[in-house]
Amino acid sequence: MTADSKEIFAKLSELLAPFNSKNIELKPDTEISTDLNIDSVSVMDFVMEVEDHFDIDIPLNVLADTHTMTDMVKVVEQRLAQGGSS
């Protein structure tokens, strides 16, 4: 991971904490929904926190292929590079 993506990973972990009620350790290949057993609405609520923190939009249709923490870091990097627009 680059320095930037490490920073994003750390921030995502922080934003995910309130949804991670069992305090499961977050690794790059952790599957956000299945490994943490978070329901579909909570995943979307988490994504909304990410959108607000980075001031980007992450359209829900993009999320269909986003499963792991690494996937999510990539999405954030991509959306930041696009200047946040959808």
Binding site: D39, M48, I56, P59, N61, S86
Partner: protein
């Protein structure tokens, strides 16, 4: 080989835990319907306070007569899609009746409200477009958005400022923009702050759809829904509604004034690839919509009953999810376990309400959701309040859990 059911193990465990605590929350059967507000459940006469039968219109003599006549004259089913052999004169008549009721130029009838949302989202938006939807939208809206293939941007519930921030990030030249709201949100009973959203619409530009599923027949001087109540009908481009609540039948509709509105009939898969509503359902819907127009006192009675229940709950010190009175009144429970225990105790005591837990309920809420009917008597409402007092407010049941 991986069993396809493996992925359901969390849900299956959750359901069996629930079964150990009493009746099947999601599998209850009413074995006899005595009236819009009474049923036999588990062999007992039960007061129904969770039916969405807002107008109490399911046992009206003239509606039943219209349904029977349609059965006699048109048979039991249409055996076809609206675009093939499944459009009968009744469906056209229903569309005209609704368009007239709503004061709209066009109306399309779908087979359920769920399909109306699927059909409208997929008919209106495509892969280049963006749908901005309220975070607490009904599943049929989410599913319709997915079916459309559009970009989906979710904004914070009832927050016009949050929507505007997201619209400002979006390039309006990249495709059409559809914003989707609900008149009354089904789980919690709050209304969309329509005036705020209309302000944003004037600044940012988009087309606006309101799902009036729970507000059609209920809100506004003409019973047309939230847009009618707010005096903002001309700012709402599209209305969606269902017959499964105030109309007391099955089916749904989309309506609007756009000159090309009928294009949805030829481009929307949930309209084209399913059979049309049965003749009897179409016929009772026509009679019911006429009744909504002819009997505004039903709306007044519903409002009066809703306020009585709302005030009664507050006098008990119960915490409801929404400060404004609406026919959906949801009481907060401490957690899922308490909600299930209290729901069972209420059912045993003789009142049926809905239970809503995440993800069906928003914000991790666990709710006992009541829906009020114009057919409830004051005695019914007072009984519901009394039982909530004994079961929920006293805390006795929750503690013993």
């Amino acid at each position: 080989m991986i069993d396809l059911f493996d992925k359901h193990h969390h849900t299956i465990e959750r359901h069996s835990r629930m079964l150990q605590m009493g009746s099947d929350v999601v599998g209850l059967a009413s074995t006899q319907m005595l009236s819009p507000t009474r049923a036999i459940i588990d062999g007992r006469e039960t007061v129904l306070a969770g039916t969405n039968n807002y107008m109490g219109i399911t046992f009206e003599e003239d509606c039943i007569a219209a349904g029977k006549k349609a059965l006699d004259e048109f048979g039991t089913g249409t055996t076809g899609s609206r675009i093939a052999n499944g459009t009968y004169g009744l469906h056209r008549e229903l569309e005209q009746e609704l368009a007239g009721f709503l004061g709209r130029k066009h109306c399309i009838v779908f087979t359920t409200g769920y399909q109306a949302n699927l059909g409208m989202m997929a008919g209106l938006a495509g892969p280049k477009d963006t749908i901005f939807l309220d975070a607490d939208s009904h599943s049929s809206i989410y599913d319709g958005c997915t079916l459309s293939g559009a970009n989906l941007v979710r904004f914070r519930h009832n927050n016009a400022t949050d929507l505007e921030k997201r619209l400002a990030r979006h390039d309006p030249e990249s495709g059409g923009r559809l914003v989707v709201l609900e008149g009354i949100y089904s789980m919690v009973g709050d209304r969309a702050p329509l005036a705020d959203f209309v302000e944003v619409k004037k600044r940012q530009g988009f087309q606006l759809l309101v799902d009036e599923a729970h507000s059609f027949g209920v809100l506004g001087p003409n019973g047309r829904g939230l847009a009618d109540e707010a005096g903002l009908e001309s700012d709402v481009d599209f209305i969606v509604g269902t017959f499964s609540k105030s109309v007391g039948a099955i089916g749904g509709f989309g309506a609007g004034d756009h000159p090309q509105f009928d294009a949805i009939r030829y481009s929307s898969r949930p309209y084209m690839f399913t059979a049309s509503p049965s003749p009897s359902s179409a016929a009772t819907s026509i009679a019911a919509v006429r009744k909504l127009k002819a009997e505004p006192e039903r709306r007044a009675r519903l409002a009066d009953n809703s306020k009585r229940l709302f005030d009664g709950f507050h006098a008990l010190g119960l915490e409801t999810c929404c400060d404004t009175v609406s026919p959906v009144i949801a009481v907060k429970c401490p957690d899922e376990l308490a909600a299930i225990v209290m729901w069972n105790a209420l059912l045993k005591a003789g009142v049926y309400v809905n239970i809503a837990v995440p993800p069906a309920a928003p914000n991790n809420l666990c709710l006992l959701r009541c829906s009020v009917s114009a057919a409830h008597t004051h005695d019914d409402i007072d009984l519901i309040i009394k039982l909530f007092g004994e079961v929920v407010a006293s805390g006795a049941v929750a503690v013993s859990a």
